[in-house]
């Protein structure tokens, strides 16, 4: 399968992948065989899965696709493909789409998803239905470590960031990146990973916990007013 494929869009609130005004939104066509579901489809059953469609592309946040579709002894899968456009906090969304498939997700649905997103200019990768998908699963423990090193005095934030930029060729260092993306958001993601896997590397770093609690307190203050 190659070329282009028509898609329609169903929305349920704001989308982190495609904010208002994003060019992808304007490429949709009503009644298409591929349906892109954007926004907070977070509760099971909050969307309608149409088996007749080639693919239902469901935007994910920190949750697994199985939360929406259900799981069945490792044989689950349908025409529903999860996806997220990687984005560091409120930075502009990247050019990466992570597709999420279950063990028995239809290959034709995954391929349709790839065609839709590649035609829109994105780099598409496929991963299994694991919390954090590829990037958050891999980089969040590193950000946690960098935040811990900062607390322990291993090096200054400047020197850690400089080391990663000069020594590893990173576009930005771990501290500047995680702070720019928001420590409260880092807490949200790592908390979801830690709840899922229970391994210490995912446990939110102290600075993220502080940011989360401050965020919560400030939100509470606003509600009281």
């Amino acid at each position: 399968m190659s070329g282009t494929m028509a898609y329609s869009i169903v929305t349920a609130g704001d989308s982190r992948s495609f904010p208002a005004g994003d060019a992808f939104l304007s490429g949709a066509a009503a009644g298409a065989d591929v349906v892109v579901c954007l926004g907070a489809f977070h509760a099971p059953g909050s969307h309608r899965i149409d088996d007749a469609k080639t693919a239902i592309l469901l935007e994910l946040d920190t949750e697994c696709l199985g939360v929406h579709t259900g799981e069945s002894a490792g044989e689950e899968g349908s025409n529903v493909v999860g996806f997220a456009r990687y984005r560091n906090g409120d930075d502009a969304p990247s050019g990466l789409i992570e597709l999420v498939r279950q063990p028995s997700t239809h290959s034709s649905s995954v391929e349709a998803a790839r065609v839709v997103f590649e035609a829109a200019g994105f780099t598409v990768v496929v991963c299994s239905d694991q919390a954090g998908r590829i990037i958050d699963r891999l980089v969040r423990p590193k950000y946690n470590a960098a935040l811990r090193f900062l607390d322990e005095g291993l090096a200054s934030a400047r020197d850690m960031d400089l080391t990663c930029r000069l020594g590893l060729g990173y576009a930005d260092g771990p501290i500047e990146r995680v702070e720019r993306g928001g420590l409260a958001r880092h807490h949200e993601i790592t908390q979801a990973l830690f709840e899922t896997y229970g391994t210490p590397g995912f446990a939110p770093a102290r600075r993220a916990v502080v940011a989360h609690r401050r965020d919560r307190r400030q939100t509470g203050d606003k509600k009281e007013k």
Partner: protein
């Protein structure tokens, strides 16, 4: 202590890292003594060094006269005695605590009192390396990055007994050599490897867990994070055996499970899938070309 570095010795100068460090020091105007145990290794390094500076001339980065002057500042030797009048000796020998301790212990009676010993270790403790040499206050960590002749970064670490003056002198030398020093505590892996080794293990575990293919992991990391090289490509470049050695150096010290060697890493090393050097790692290679994913 004079606080001024004029002459630099590089131990292990027949190796890739040592040869690169010697290029850095000689290029910056320091008299440089290149020491190694084996003359053939020094000869090979001298040939590579001449080739490197030859390319610099070809690319207009230096004149032929400047190249000749740099090469004239470099002298190779297999005798430790020739390091006696160096103000700074940088070791880039095999990454083994006893080897480094024995080298500094042998240099101590030969060198002047003011001579600073620097270790290029990437994993070992500067304090432990310094502990047997009789001049713990004049030992400092200076971890260059590969390829040293191109990379500006040096991780600088004082040991527990390193004097302030020693650290400051070594720092000034690093800047005078055109490098960018960063300060880090004397902890396993300093900054770079403390972040990189566990991250690479997480990548290997993700491959093993079937999260995604190495090619998709690399594509995600490069596209999403802007890294120049994907982690699987990097692991193939540095060698899976090197990653295993790093794990075995870190984990017993840190007990951080992310630093422990993933089972897949051990199997790949046992199978001889070491990366580019054996033609197969996460990818397969034919010469410098990379195939598959």
């Amino acid at each position: 202590m004079s606080g001024i570095i004029r002459k630099v010795g590089v131990c292990g100068a027949g190796g890739t890292m040592g040869a690169g460090i010697a290029i850095v020091t000689a290029r910056a105007g320091f008299e440089t003594v290149c020491y190694d145990l084996a003359q053939p290794a020094l000869d090979a390094a001298a040939k590579q060094t001449a080739g490197f500076f030859g390319k610099s001339v070809d690319r207009g980065k230096m004149s032929a006269g400047e190249r000749d002057a740099v090469l004239a500042r470099m002298r190779a030797t297999t005798s430790l005695d020739d390091l006696a009048d160096c103000d700074l000796v940088i070791e880039a020998v095999f990454e083994d605590l006893k080897t480094k301790q024995q080298l500094f212990a042998a240099l101590d009676p030969l060198c002047a009192k003011h001579t600073i010993f620097a270790s290029n270790t990437s994993t070992l403790s500067i304090t432990e390396i310094a502990s047997q040499c009789g001049r713990q206050d004049r030992v400092v960590g200076m971890h260059f990055c590969l390829p040293a002749q191109l990379m500006k970064l040096i991780e600088m670490s004082p040991g527990m007994n390193t004097s302030r003056e020693t650290f400051d002198t070594a720092w000034s030398f690093a800047e005078a050599a055109g490098q960018t020093p960063v300060r880090t505590q004397d902890k396993p892996g300093f900054i770079l490897n403390a972040l990189l080794v566990p991250f690479n293990n997480d990548v290997i575990r993700a491959v093993e867990a079937g999260v995604a293919t190495p090619a998709d992991i690399d594509a995600a990391i490069k596209t999403g994070l802007g890294y120049r090289m994907g982690p699987c490509e990097l692991l193939d470049l540095i060698g899976l055996d090197t990653q295993l050695r790093l794990c075995e150096a870190f984990y017993p010290v840190t007990l951080d499970v992310r630093s422990s060697a993933p089972p897949l890493l051990r199997r790949m090393v046992a199978a001889g899938h070491l990366g580019r050097k054996t033609g197969r790692g996460f990818y397969t290679y034919d010469g410098n070309a990379m195939f598959g994913g």
